[in-house]
């Protein structure tokens, strides 16, 4: 063998083993390195080692969460694609599928909020059209530290700016989401973005490479030096004060380019030129290449010398690990390359032939003919999996022991309500969503702020979908399992209130460092809680993402398993908002007997205490209440619905009144009627956060019908009064004009003054 042939076929292995600190740069441990040596039977090359760092990161490899994720129910009659693809897909009839996925972009947003959030939006939208689906909606679930601190406000405003910049420009409406604030998110904000798309089911595209000899093309943006080590260095490690140095690991997005990429890829999906498509997200070319190969049980060989680049002098390592945005890897049928290129040319996008599908099951990377990486795809695709035994954190006993029985009121009930309405978690998010284009594409029936979920019609049908995100991090902190159950239950309830039947879940599991066994406990309990509730309510998890290591200087965030819920409306006429109309009667589904204020927004906002047990959840009752509400809507009885959540019944009533511009007087008899057996006490009745409650409004004539539906489901129904007047009056506890309620609610997020 001549020397030159030898060079072409031999991997240039590292001259010596890397040190622990070298490995830490790419978030690998010495133990993991030992496994790499064993699997390869030799030292890795520099490129290979970088690929291991990326593929074995929690972000790509789920090495801490994989066994837990198996607990989720992921199948059902509607499921066309469960977890494991770029996004999940469910059948909604009419030959259509709804595709959805949620993903985190927490650490990039902590380091560079505008671009971090923007590329979060771009990345998740890419997951949708990679499946061949047209993106029709984005939702954002955001968490920050208290906004009275300048750094937190900077991050909050930057993230919102990034979302609006990317989402508005690309022409996908941002229709919903949530914003919460708590100390634990200071320094480690959460930016969870959910995207939803629609496709004719038969056109769904997968990311499974097939057909030896088929061509691998890289399309879209050129490859630059941005985002290198984004998934290993940034997403899969804790943050510290040195994160400023990590700004180069954040990618920079170009929404216009992605808009072109959407149109080109959707045009491509109408042809039969391709066998697979995979977007380049975390770990760039590395992960997309390994994934298409391992899913297809084939090999792939590419020459990165053929990859168009933004700058000269990039090393193979940099090209393989770049997280430059707006790129896509496609597997093209042999002979169709020119046809594919013509489509991308028309949209003004690059398309490079970079390699081919091979038979040997290996991922082989060449740089101008010189091998720089070469190993079986599984070596990278199946990272070591850690099964840990979690330890119940000590703090749980302490916080759960907190008893609210003897809590002394510090404000009048009216002032407490005003304070709650202005509490940033509860306050109107109008100042946020008015920056998002939520009506583009002309599908939005219920937009942000008008209902418990956003409702979008499915063009060409009489159907619509309802989408909502939800998670109460405070509950999950106080009881990781119950809090996660409630996240599922409440998001399903939200979708039901808007008229939809819950049919699928996507999620984003945000936790601290799972190597700490107390955190692992939170994660495991959270997954179990979600799985419990999903099973009870009959909704499968079809996609999701795990974001661990959400800690700053050793302090973990609240466990935050964010849930994205999809509901289906068989008739778009079932869409419901929350606003009352003059003369409608207002009633409560479910009862108001909860006697504890543990874990409530009231306890935090008014008393400054985060403790106690979150409200109990009976999943059978939950299911019955949701079924009642849905049937009431479908029969045309319920005109508006709003669930009781943060701030309890009083806040729910106030929000419906503000939205409708019409008041309500709840009399003593009505108060007692839904208070259970114990005597009603002001703060408890007004602000408890008992689950499984929905405030509905309807014509008085329809009350007997609703009573019948409720009776059939064994759900209690209590009349609260008739909507009218300009004041919210609850017994002799509070009496406030709607204008004053609205002022508090609308001003809660502003840095001074009021939101218009």
């Amino acid at each position: 063998m001549t020397e030159s042939t030898l060079n072409r076929t031999t991997v240039p292995v590292l001259p010596a083993d890397p040190t622990a600190s070298d490995l830490d740069e790419i978030a690998l441990s010495l133990g993991e390195y030992a496994q790499i040596l064993a699997r390869l039977g030799r030292r890795p090359s520099e490129v290979e080692l970088g690929m291991f760092g990326a593929m074995w990161s929690e972000h790509c490899g789920y090495k801490n969460s994989k066994p837990l994720l198996k607990l989720f129910p992921t199948t059902g009659p509607r499921v066309l694609q469960g977890p494991g693809e770029n996004a999940g897909a469910v059948d909604v009839g009419n030959g259509l599928a709804v595709v959805m996925k949620m993903e985190s972009h927490n650490h990039p947003s902590a380091v560079e909020p505008v671009e971090g959030a923007a590329t979060g939006v771009g990345g998740i939208i890419r997951d949708i059209f990679t499946m061949g689906a047209r993106p029709i909606a984005v939702l954002d679930s955001l968490r920050f530290g208290p906004i009275d601190r300048p750094r937190n406000r900077f991050l909050f405003e930057g993230v919102v700016n990034g979302i609006q910049r990317y989402g508005n420009c690309i022409g996908v409406p941002t229709v919903g989401g949530e914003v919460y604030f708590a100390d634990s998110y200071s320094g480690n904000p959460l930016v969870n973005v959910m995207a939803v798309g629609v496709i004719e089911s038969r056109k769904l595209i997968r990311s499974i490479a097939q057909g030896v000899g088929n061509t691998i093309m890289l399309v879209g943006a050129d490859t630059g030096r941005d985002g290198i080590h984004g998934c290993s260095g940034l997403a899969s490690r804790e943050l510290s004060d040195e994160n400023e140095e990590q700004r180069p690991t954040v990618q920079v997005g170009n929404p216009f380019l992605e808009k072109l990429l959407i149109e080109a890829c959707l045009e491509l999906s109408e042809t039969d030129h391709i066998v697979a498509m995979q977007d380049l997200g975390a770990a760039g070319i590395t992960s997309s290449l390994v994934e298409v190969a391992s899913k297809g049980s084939v090999g792939v060989e590419i020459d990165i010398d053929r990859v168009s680049r933004r700058e000269s002098g990039m090393t193979p390592y940099e090209v393989m690990l770049s997280e430059s945005q707006e790129r896509m890897l496609i597997v093209v049928r042999r002979g169709r390359e020119d046809a594919v290129k013509a489509i991308f040319d028309r949209w003004g996008l690059h398309s490079d032939i970079v390699g081919r599908v091979t038979a040997d099951g290996r991922v082989r990377v060449l740089d101008a003919g010189q091998v720089v990486a070469d190993a079986p795809a599984e070596v990278w695709a199946d990272p070591p999996v850690y099964r840990r035994q979690g330890i119940r954190p000590a703090y749980l006993d302490r916080v759960q022991a907190y008893n609210t029985d003897n809590l002394k009121p510090v404000l009048t009930p009216g002032d407490s309500l005003l304070k709650l309405l202005a509490f940033p978690d509860i306050a109107s998010k109008h100042s946020v969503y008015r920056q998002y284009d939520y009506s583009v594409q002309t599908n939005t029936i219920i937009g942000p702020g008008d209902g418990d979920a956003a409702v979008l019609r499915l063009k060409g049908t009489n159907k619509a979908i309802a989408v909502a995100t939800d998670c109460n991090g405070r509950y999950c902190y106080l009881d990781p399992r119950l809090g996660a159950q409630i996240a599922i239950a409440e998001s399903a309830r939200n979708v039901v209130c808007a008229g939809g039947e819950p049919i699928a879940v996507t999620d984003c599991l945000n936790y601290g460092n799972p190597e700490k066994l107390e955190i692992y406990y939170q994660l495991e309990e959270g997954v179990r809680g979600m799985a419990d509730a999903c099973r009870a309510l009959g909704v499968p998890v079809i996609s999701g993402n795990v974001s661990l290591y959400n800690e700053t200087n050793g302090e973990a965030i609240y466990p935050t398993p964010t849930v994205g819920m999809l509901g289906l409306l068989e008739d778009l006429g079932h869409a419901r908002g929350m606003a009352w109309r003059q003369g409608d009667v207002v009633a409560l589904l479910g009862n108001n007997a909860e006697q504890s204020l543990g874990g409530t927004a009231y306890l935090e906002a008014v008393h400054g205490v985060v403790a106690g047990r979150p409200p109990a959840l009976d999943l059978d009752v939950e299911r019955a209440v949701q079924a009642t509400c849905l049937e009431g809507i479908r029969q045309g009885v319920i005109r508006a619905a709003h669930d009781c959540a943060d701030g309890g019944l009083a806040v729910t009533l106030a929000e419906c009144a503000i939205k409708g511009g019409v008041g309500l007087a709840v009399g003593r008899a009505e108060i007692d009627a839904c208070a259970g057996e114990l005597p009603a006490r002001a703060e408890r009745w007004l602000f408890n956060e008992a689950q499984s409650r929905i405030v509905v409004s309807l014509s008085e004539d329809d009350l007997p019908k609703l009573a019948e539906i409720a009776r059939a489901h064994g759900v209690s129904l209590t009349m609260l009064g008739a909507a009218g007047g300009e004041r919210l009056i609850i017994g002799d506890w509070l009496d406030l004009p709607i204008s004053e309620l609205a002022r508090s609610w609308q001003g809660g997020l502003s840095s001074g003054g009021h939101d218009d």
Binding site: R434, Y436, S439, V440
Partner: protein, 209 residues
């Protein structure tokens, strides 16, 4: 029609829709104004063809000089999405004849650069010629500062050129043509255009060259 085309086929009306052409890089509409197709649109307009620009389309028409004035960053310096009220100032244009003079319309807006600006002389000319077609107002039709979502001069939301065949507006009539989307006032704009085309059909509309 495709942006790179140099040829305009026979059309009754050209609509430049909204949508961040070229990502609003440089300035909203500043690059689209140089798109190859714009040359034919300019000739089409010069020959009396109907052209309407909505949102980014309005910005492009201003950049291209087909409409006077400019659209600056909203005075709040943020993107604004929501519903606005519009008063019909001139119901005798090709784009507003289906509305009543003074009628208040409800339409969505979604823009970051919608603040209409023109120098004093231009503004005076627009007002004197009845070229201001739509103005932001409150529900009662009063043109207040609070009802102006972006700081546009004289609350201007839509203008027509002196010849009356080129129209630009920031609000989105196409997003409110169905009850299910929250309103149908946008239909008035399209019904006006259709009525104009019908009335013109005695003599065919000009073709682009």
């Amino acid at each position: 029609m495709w942006h790179a085309s140099h040829q305009l086929d026979h059309y009754d009306c050209v609509i430049l829709p909204g949508g961040f052409s070229y990502g609003d890089h440089l300035r909203a509409g500043a690059i689209a104004r140089f798109a190859p197709v714009m040359g034919s649109i300019e000739r089409y307009a010069a020959d009396g063809g109907l052209v309407i620009g909505i949102c980014n389309g309005f910005q492009i028409l201003c950049e291209a000089g087909l409409l006077p004035g400019a659209l600056l960053r909203n005075d709040c310096l943020q993107f604004r999405c929501g519903w606005v009220n519009l008063r019909v100032e001139n119901a005798h244009t090709a784009f507003s004849n289906a509305a009543q003079p003074g009628q208040v319309l409800r339409m969505p807006i979604a823009h970051g650069d919608g603040r209409f600006y023109a120098d004093d002389a231009t503004l005076a000319r627009l007002e004197a010629n009845g070229q201001v077609v739509l103005r932001y107002c409150d529900a009662a039709g009063r043109t207040t500062a609070a009802s102006n979502p972006n700081g546009s001069l004289n609350n201007i939301a839509g203008i027509v050129n002196a010849a009356g065949n080129v129209f630009g507006m920031m609000p989105h009539p196409e997003r409110c043509c169905e009850e299910v989307l929250g309103g149908t006032d946008g239909r008035l704009i399209f019904e006006s255009i259709i009525a104009t085309i019908r009335s013109r059909q005695v003599a065919p509309a000009p073709a682009g060259r």
